[in-house]
Amino acid sequence: MSQKNNLVKKLEAVNEYEREPIPKGKLKSWKSFVGTYAGEHTAGTEFVLGPLFVAHGASAVDIVTGLLIGNILAVLSWAFFTGKAATKTRLTLYYQLEKIAGSRFTMIYNLVNAVAFCFLAGSMITVAATAVGIPFDMAMPALNDTLPTSLGFVLTVFGVGAITTVIAMFGFNQVVKFANIAAPWMIMIFIAAAVTVLPRLGINSIGDFWPVAKETIWSGVPLEGNTKFTFWHVMFFAWFCNMAMHIGMADMSILRYAKKWTAGFATSTGVFLGHYVAWIASGILYSLFLLESDNSLTFAPGPIAYEAVGIAGAICVIIAGWTTANPTLYRAGLAIQSINPKWKTWKVTLFVGMITTIAACFPALMMKLLDFVALYGLVLMPLGAVVFIDIFLLPKMGLRSNYAEINKSSFNPAVGITWLVTLVFCVGLNFYGDIEIFFLGLPGWFVAVVVYLISSKLVQKNSKSAVTPAPESSSQKTVSIS
């Protein structure tokens, strides 16, 4: 009984500073973020996204150059957008957005965000389940499966989901500890798995690699039913696959713990190991699978890794899924909790974990990961532009930051207009301009900036707060340690 009370006390003592700036004593050095990001981006998604480039017929040259440039742009976005905003306000995206857009708007945004995070975490639980199910001879899902494939699959997913949820319930520190330990080992397994299978692809010396890479692995010919990927697809996908996190500002929740904004550069460990080395490694593994299975439709990262390097490979898929699902569940919990701050973090995370686990039972979540990641980043991007402009540009233009907080308004129409107009613009480009979803984020961001500036000027023109000059509000003062 006393043990149970201790556990509840421990859970209730988890304070993630959801509605206050992070105190100086709680700030973390850049080392914490190296582990977190390396763990998060060398992850279960890599077992799915790496093979995508093979399936879509990207060439070897496009892979090497497109991933390099796209990943550099992603790191710069994390540092100069998310890092700068997070260390200036020390607030979660959700609370910052509430100050700008109002509680009613933020509630809608948080719900959209939480659903997206649940789906992402759910797909990672599915990935991990494909490895956990190996000893039970579980029927693996295929590329075209959408519904649960068997009772064994559902039970496996529930087991993985329960453990993931319990870890996430104990808060950010537990996630950091877990990711720190797993990250270096995980990247070793990714590399080892790819190197081990090279002879089976006909690569017996370093000199053999490039010709086979060009002709067999990334042949430049898409699989049947898939569109052809070019350099631009690869580059923009590498840049925008985490758009919700960097330009969309979701990682303010993580980087607000950073002593300096430059901690944003710590993301380079994650993107270059995970979105470069691991994508190439998983592409090699998938290419071999296609070659040896005569283009089978079965798509299960667990058995592919197990076949390459045995039990260590299967454990890698499980842990890779966990290290992505854990921080994603944590973010989803924060998003839901900001709707009612009185809710305990651990109870919210438990609820979110249950929903996520149910969603993970549907293989469609994993099979459609590419489309989902692109859509999710695009939907959240306009609010990231709003937050960035509100913090850094509005005060310089004589306009008020945190309009909703200052005016005690529950809905800032400028933000609503910006979100709506930007999404309509992007959908229009997609439908009528035939521009693929991967390319919409860049023009969309500029549209969001322009619309927010104009609409803020119009909204604040008639507002009382615009009468006085606009100094930095107390809540916006920098609290970074230099």
């Binding site: 582990g35 720190n180 080992w185 590399i191 080892a192 190197v195 045995g310 039990i311 260590a312």
Partner: protein, 59 residues
């Protein structure tokens, strides 16, 4: 003691990747590689928690 545990951790980490290059070179077979990688994995997860997070907390 801490340095010894660290050394064991790094050796375990090496054991997860070096065998794959030995397979590539034709020195060992894939089955031995899988066994060595599994041993490296177990030793890593036993030893790394004893020093990794402590260093992060002190930083």
């Amino acid at each position: 003691m801490n340095n010894l545990i660290k050394l064991i951790s790094f050796l375990a980490l090496a054991l997860t990747i070096v065998p794959s290059f030995l397979v590539f070179s034709g020195v060992i077979n894939a089955d031995l590689c899988k066994t060595l990688m599994f041993i490296g994995t177990v030793v890593w997860f036993i030893t790394a928690p004893k020093w990794m997070n402590r260093e992060t907390e002190e930083a």
